[in-house]
Each structure stands twice: as structure tokens, then as C-alpha cells.
Assembly symmetry: C2
Homo-oligomer: 134 residues x 2
Amino acid sequence: MDEIDIKEAGLKVTQPRVQILKIFETSTQKHFSAEEIFQLLRDDDSRVGLATIYRVLTQFETAGLVIRHNFEGGQAVFELDSGEHHDHIVDMKNGKIIEFHDEIIEQRQIEIAKEHGYQLIDHSLILYAEPIDK
Amino acid sequence: MDEIDIKEAGLKVTQPRVQILKIFETSTQKHFSAEEIFQLLRDDDSRVGLATIYRVLTQFETAGLVIRHNFEGGQAVFELDSGEHHDHIVDMKNGKIIEFHDEIIEQRQIEIAKEHGYQLIDHSLILYAEPIDK
DNA sequence: CTCAGTGCAAACTATTTGCAGATTT
DNA sequence: AAATCTGCAAATAGTTTGCACTGAG
């Protein structure tokens, strides 16, 4: 249940926070920009301000509920943190986002960092691709 | 010689363009934000406006002279396009940027895209890491 | 001399912040 | 009631654009 997550994050269970979390949980789409959430709530005639959405998303990010991605195109995109790490393919034709996980790449990244005297803390891998037309 | 590149890009050989290119070519550092270039030129008391720097960098990018990266932290970062593709390790402690190239990862990316019915157009791989202290 | 290029200020986009009033606990 | 939270408007940060003037070819 949403409310538990919010409470565990040390946040009050407010209207906007519940609604935003619900969007992530009930939609087939997994990735949303702040603006998109703003529109969805507006369509559902909730009167949540854009600033609040940014604030809540940032709090959720800090609490580990949500992950922020910086794909091309200015707007940050958020998704629920499922706990299972994955990277993304961005479909440049339709804007769709596909998730994948590849152990070979994951391991190489760690090795590469080590080869250069570093400990890998985090990484960002985004594949920009177009559908193969038949 | 710089001027040739500028001409081949179909651009006039102007003061600001030459100076900006020179920064990339003569510095040990390889990656610069627009703001950094602005400061460097100012220190060298050139009166080049920040807007011009952005315009020139964008033109250079279009001409394939320069590559734009969007690392964490808002500001875009530019480097000379050496022709040899590489990815980056960002040293989170010192802000240093290290380049690397790994064929295994390159190949896996292509395969992964294909497995999902896509043709890889471009990619962005950034490792965020900290130096291993001994 | 002509047209591309430049500086400056104003415009824009994405995001953040201050504050007075509204909500949660 | 106390403290957190929210909406709104104003502030920021990074980058882009309009325009009259400057400079390269």
C-alpha cells in the first residue's frame, strides 16, 4: 500500500503524495516527467501545483522510492524504484522507453573503473535507437 | 591548422571561433563547459560574449568538430571530436574526467538493441566513481 | 560592399524557493 | 495546536534568440 511507503520515508500522507505515487503504480507507462504528472493530475481535476510535484518527486528520490533519469531533451524523467537495477533504450522514433539489464556490461563497468583506480559508485547507460523496420 | 576546420564547416574564420578552437587544442584539459571557456577567454582579456560561445559550440557540434555531453550537474560539457569514440568515468571526488573505450561493452550494446528489435543509433555511458584510496 | 557573425539584453525552459495560508497528525 | 505541506508567484540556472552594429571575404 502506497501510504506505508510514504510514512516510512518520514513524510506526511498528503493528497498530492498519494496521488503521485498512484500514478506510478497504476499506469502501464513507467516513466514520467514532472510535467506529465502535472497534466495527468489536472485531467483528473486535482489542483496540485507543478512546484509541489517537483518537491514530492525530489523527496521520493531521496527516500529511494523513485529514480530520476536525465535523458536527452531537457526534462528529467522519473520511475518507481523497483529495486532491480536496469538501463534504458530510448526509442527515438516513438519516444518509448525500454528497460534492460545486462550482466556482462555491468561486470565490465566495474572492471573498467577498477583498471583506472576507481571504485564504481553509479552509472548511466542509455541506448538511443530506432526500430528495425521490416 | 584550426582555420581549415572552420572553413570546412562553412563558417567564417572569426576571432571568437579561432580562439575557442585554440582552447581545446592547446589545453591539457579536454572537457569544457561554455562558462569555463567564457572565463578562460575573459582571463585572456578577449571580449567574447557567452551567447557567442554557445552559438559557436553548437555550430561546431553540428559540423562534427565537437561533441556535447550531458553529465550530471546541469552544465553541458564539450570536447573536441577526435574521431575515436569513447565513454567517460567521472571522478566524483575531484571532478576529473577520464576517457575509456571498451569493445566488449560496445558490442553488447549493439546486440542488446538488436534483441529488442532496434538499431543502435547512439549511446551514452557514464561511470560515476571514486578513487580507491590506499 | 555584402552578408555572416557578434554583443547585449531580453526570452525561454526546467527546476527551485519564499511565504502565507491549508492540512495532517 | 504544532509542525509539515502546499499553491502561487517570484527567483534561478543554463541556454537560446532578436536586433542593430561589426567585421570577414
